[in-house]
C-alpha cells in the first residue's frame, strides 16, 4: 500500500519525461495468484515486444560518452 503511492508518483514522473508510452505496467498479484502472474507476464512481454527496442534512458557503451 505504501508502494502504491510511490508507484503512482513514479509512473507519472516517467510518463511526464516522455518515456515511450506502453513500457510501464503495474499489477497487483498476490502470492496465491500463479495464473494471474503468468498471464500478466505474458501480456507485458507481448506489449513491450510490439514497441521494439527501447530508445530512451538506454545507454550504449559502444558510444564514447
Amino acid at each position: 500500500m505504501f508502494a502504491r503511492r510511490r508507484f503512482a508518483v513514479l509512473k507519472n514522473l516517467l510518463e511526464y519525461i516522455g518515456l515511450e508510452p506502453g513500457r510501464l505496467h503495474f499489477s497487483w498479484i498476490s502470492s496465491a495468484e500463479a495464473e494471474k502472474f503468468q498471464r500478466t507476464a505474458q501480456e507485458v512481454v507481448e506489449a513491450v515486444r510490439k514497441l521494439g527496442p527501447a530508445k530512451r534512458l538506454i545507454k550504449d557503451i559502444r558510444k564514447v560518452a
Binding site: 503512482a8 508518483v9 519525461i17 545507454k59
Partner: protein
C-alpha cells in the same frame, strides 16, 4: 522590504543570543565577494554577528547547513529563516534529523529572492561589478553600465509561486510578518510545464533541460532533503547509476533524485540557484509536487505533526494505473 532595517534587527537578535549564551552559533548570510551572491555564514561571537546581512540575494537554503555540520559540535543553533527554510526545518524535524529545541529561529518573511542569472541575461556581454538595492529596484553598475531593474521582474521562478513567505515555525521575528503568506503566483500555471506536450516532445524537452549537466551534484548538495549518508548515485555495491556523461546516466541521477524528494520538496529553489550551468530542476520536482498535492492533498513542511505522504497510505488512494 527594508533590507537594511531587517539586517540591523537580525544582528541585534544574533548578538543578544550569542552574548547571553542562548545559542552556540547563529547561521545566517553574509555579503559575498560576487555581486548578487550572498553566502552562508556561521557567527560564533557577537562580533561576528556584525557581518550578518539580509538582502534579496540570500539564495542558499540554510536548513541544509544544519545537517551537514558534524553532529555534536553545536548544541543549539540560531538560524535566520524565511518561509521555505522553516518548511525544510519542519521536514527535517518530521524526519528526525533535527530537534525543534535545538533551534532558535530568527524569522523573516521572504521578499522573493533575485535570480542572478536573470539579471546577468539582461546585460549580455557586460561586466556587472556591483548591484545595489534601492527600494524595489536593483541598481546595476559596471563599466559602461548604470541601469535600474524592477526587482519584481527578476526573481527566482519558485519565488513567484511561493505559498509560504512567512516562517512556519519561529522564535523571534526580525520584522513584521508579511500580510499574505502567498506571493500570489499560481503554481498550477507554472508547475509541470511539459504536461501539455506529446511524449516525443516531452522527451526532447527533458533532454534539452538536462543535457548540460556536469554532474557536480551541487543541486543535491545544496538541498536540505539530501542528507543520505551514501547517496544512491555514489553507491558502488551495487552501482545503481553509471558515472559517465552518457545521457542515460545523467538522466537517471536527476530522475531518481527528484523522486527521492517526493512529498518532501518545499520548492525552495536552492538546487536551481546552486547549479553552475543553469539547469531547471524544478521542471521535474514541480511535477511531483503537483501530483502529491492533487493525489494526496499534501504540501510539505507546513505542520510538524503531519505525516509525510510517502510514509502513509489511505485505502482509497488512486490506483487506476494498476491492472
Amino acid at each position: 522590504m527594508d533590507f537594511e532595517a531587517v539586517t540591523q534587527k537580525i544582528r541585534e537578535i544574533a548578538k543578544r543570543l550569542l552574548s547571553e549564551g542562548q545559542v552556540d552559533a547563529v547561521l545566517g548570510y553574509r555579503e559575498g565577494t560576487v555581486p548578487m551572491r550572498e553566502r552562508p555564514f556561521f557567527a560564533y561571537t557577537p562580533e561576528e554577528a556584525e557581518q550578518l546581512v539580509w538582502t534579496p540575494f540570500c539564495c542558499n537554503n540554510l536548513a541544509n547547513f544544519l545537517i551537514r555540520k558534524p553532529k555534536g559540535e553545536i548544541g543549539k543553533w540560531g538560524i535566520v529563516a524565511q518561509g521555505c527554510v522553516t518548511r525544510n526545518l519542519v521536514g527535517l524535524i518530521q524526519e528526525n534529523q533535527l530537534k525543534r529545541e535545538e533551534l532558535f529561529i530568527i524569522g523573516v518573511p521572504s521578499p522573493g529572492m533575485v535570480d542572478r542569472r536573470k539579471v546577468l541575461d539582461k546585460f549580455p556581454g557586460k561586466t556587472i561589478s556591483q548591484v545595489l538595492v534601492e527600494g524595489e529596484e536593483l541598481v546595476i553598475k559596471g563599466p559602461g553600465l548604470d541601469e535600474r531593474l524592477d526587482m519584481k521582474t527578476v526573481k527566482r521562478d519558485n519565488c513567484y509561486t511561493c505559498i509560504q513567505r512567512n516562517p512556519v515555525i519561529v522564535d523571534e521575528m526580525a520584522c513584521d510578518k508579511a500580510e499574505n503568506d502567498s506571493m500570489g503566483g499560481d503554481i498550477d500555471k507554472m508547475a509541470a510545464p511539459w504536461e501539455s506536450l506529446d511524449p516525443d516532445q516531452r522527451w526532447q524537452a527533458f533532454y534539452d533541460n538536462f543535457k548540460d549537466c556536469i554532474r557536480c551534484y551541487a543541486c543535491r548538495d545544496a538541498c536540505p532533503l539530501c542528507y543520505c549518508h551514501v547517496c544512491f548515485v555514489d553507491e558502488s555495491q551495487p552501482q545503481w547509476c553509471g558515472k559517465t556523461q552518457d545521457f542515460a546516466d545523467v538522466a537517471t541521477f536527476h530522475l531518481l533524485r527528484a523522486f527521492h524528494c517526493a512529498g518532501r520538496c518545499t520548492d525552495c529553489g536552492a538546487c536551481e540557484s546552486a547549479c553552475p550551468v543553469g539547469i531547471k530542476m524544478r521542471r521535474l520536482t514541480s511535477k511531483i509536487e503537483k501530483d502529491i498535492r492533487q493525489m494526496y492533498g499534501y504540501r510539505p513542511g507546513l505542520e510538524i505533526e503531519a505525516t509525510p505522504p510517502m510514509s502513509v497510505y489511505k485505502p482509497n488512494d488512486p490506483e487506476d494505473f494498476i491492472k
